[in-house]
């Protein structure tokens, strides 16, 4: 490391050996996060130029609800989403992502453009589309008695539902979804990641093209609606629409995929719970929150300190990156009784899987509806599904996003329903 990059006289600590992209971490992320939570819920790692890791539930509140001290704004060209891991710095749009790289008060009006269309009430209006895509995807494989649950159901259903709502061209949806899948699940520098990084520009270009097309010929989709809206009294620009569209693609396609896939893997092991959910479909409501708690698709999120700040005896310096672990927060026994146990009827269940504070996942309500419809239909139409244990594979890199790369399954063949 060059002297100019060296840390100043370092009073940061306790110092832990922690690298959320290492092979050691990826071999068992659960153990890695819980070890931090148990030993040093506020800690400093010297990886990637140095960053704080906050891993308890209280820390999630303290950092993510305090935007005056911990900004979501971009530092350099790195995404605000994570600590600056090599490879991410030079990717994507040089302008701030909307709305997640804005702090209040600038954040509010931009975020409103998402909230109005993704509130619980607005999301419920999308239920027929969710049912349509779930039925269509399961119909395509139900007669065969085998499929890959990831590539045939949990991947395409959220992708078609979300991107169709957005206005993304149908013939590009699967390509875009696979690009995001590879960007979030594979390590920077891998062959999959490098190709996805190139394909990523296709997603942005498609959004620019779609925006131009909808200005001439509006349709019933989110991009057309955005064109009719104003931001700070001015019409929403194409640049803003493209960035709002991009966050919809990134936030919408692989996250609900990950949650649903994890739940299906869980129920491949826990057959008693699978039977309980089949016998009592109403249990899915509270079980959804427990699946979210135990399997957060986005396991950590970063902020940057905008001033010196003493936090629980540790000296955080202005400019320090702070990585907050949603995953560990969800296993904090100060908040969750017997956190290691999966309790389908757990209440209250104040998990932090959608994040806390102003940047709470805008698609959280839609995500729940998509998850629940996929689970209902899989449990009803392929209740005896059995994963090929030898063929299932988690993401190779689970430090930011967690999820699955393959879920081959067999089940008793059924009949198409449409």
């Amino acid at each position: 490391m060059e002297a100019s990059n060296a840390l100043p006289e370092n009073d940061r600590g306790p110092v832990v050996h922690f690298d959320h992209h290492s092979a050691e971490f990826n071999a068992d992320p659960h153990a890695a996060w819980l070890s931090l939570l148990d030993s040093n819920p506020v800690a400093w790692s010297e990886q990637y130029g140095g960053f704080w890791i906050i891993s308890d539930h209280k820390g999630n509140h303290d950092i993510l609800q305090n935007h005056e001290v911990f900004t979501a704004e971009r530092v350099g060209r790195s995404s605000s989403l994570t600590v600056p891991v090599p490879g991410y710095e030079e990717m994507g749009n040089p302008e701030p992502s909307l709305p997640e790289e804005l702090d209040p008060p600038q954040h509010g009006p931009v975020r409103k453009l998402m909230n109005v269309q993704l509130s619980p009430g607005a999301s419920r209006k999308m239920q027929p589309m969710i049912e349509h895509w779930t039925t269509t995807c399961i119909d395509a494989v139900i007669e065969a008695g085998q499929c890959d649950l990831l590539y045939d159901i949990t991947g395409p259903v959220p992708a078609y539902t979300t991107l169709d709502w957005l206005g993304f061209p149908h013939d590009r949806i699967i390509e875009a979804a696979e690009t995001i899948h590879h960007l979030v699940g594979y390590p920077p520098g891998s062959a999959e990641w490098n190709k996805a990084r190139e394909d990523n520009s296709m997603i942005e270009q498609t959004l620019w093209d779609t925006c131009a097309a909808r200005r001439k010929d509006p349709r019933d989709d989110y991009i057309s609606w955005l064109i009719t809206q104003k931001l700070d009294g001015e019409p929403v620009t194409d640049s803003a629409i493209v960035r709002l569209g991009y966050i919809t693609v990134v936030g919408g396609v692989d996250t609900t995929t990950s949650l649903t896939s994890s739940a299906l893997v869980h129920l491949n092991e826990d057959r008693a719970l699978r039977q309980r959910l089949i016998d009592d479909p109403a249990l899915l409501e509270s079980a959804t929150e427990e699946f979210l708690r135990v399997y957060p698709p986005l396991s950590s999120i970063a902020r940057t300190a905008r001033q010196d700040f003493e936090y629980r005896g540790c000296q955080i310096h202005s400019g320090d990156r702070v990585l907050v672990s949603r995953y560990a927060g969800n296993f904090d026994e100060q908040v969750f009784e017997c956190p290691a146990e999966f309790r389908a009827d757990r209440f209250p269940n104040r998990h932090v899987s959608f994040g806390l504070g102003p940047h709470r996942c805008a698609g959280s309500h839609l995500a729940r509806l998509m998850f629940q419809e996929m689970m209902r239909q899989v449990l009803r139409r392929m209740p005896d599904y059995e994963l090929d244990e030898a063929g299932i594979a988690p993401y190779p890199d689970r430090g930011i996003f967690d999820g699955w790369s393959a879920l081959p399954a067999r089940f008793s063949p059924g009949i198409r329903s449409q």
Binding site: H61, Q65, K112, N115, V116, L118, S119, P120, G121, A122, E337, F347, P348, N349, R350, H351, V352, F354, L356, G357, P358, H359, R360, S364, H365
Partner: protein, 83 residues
């Protein structure tokens, strides 16, 4: 008993509404719109459950003397064991 919502902390998680839709209202953006709502005696259990469900800890109940109901009391009202 009144509902008090810290509107700055409310981030639109909407778990209050998902848990107790008869008591909690949301505005068009999906944020809690029930600040100052007077909770009827038959609504106390649901109002308490909705407050306990909030991941942001943005909801409290306030009694007629202006005192915040403790989390332990919310659990009691909600019919949950007090841990």
């Amino acid at each position: 008993m009144k509902i008090h919502v810290d509107t700055r902390a409310c981030s639109g998680q909407a778990r209050c509404w998902a848990t107790a839709a008869d008591v909690y209202r949301l505005n068009d953006d999906g944020y809690n719109d029930s600040d100052d709502y007077e909770v009827g005696p038959d609504e106390l259990a649901d109002a308490s459950r909705g407050a306990l469900a909030c991941p942001e800890h943005a909801i409290t109940l306030v009694d007629s003397a202006g005192n915040e109901v403790t989390e332990a009391d919310l659990r009691t009202y909600a019919g949950l064991p007090v841990s």
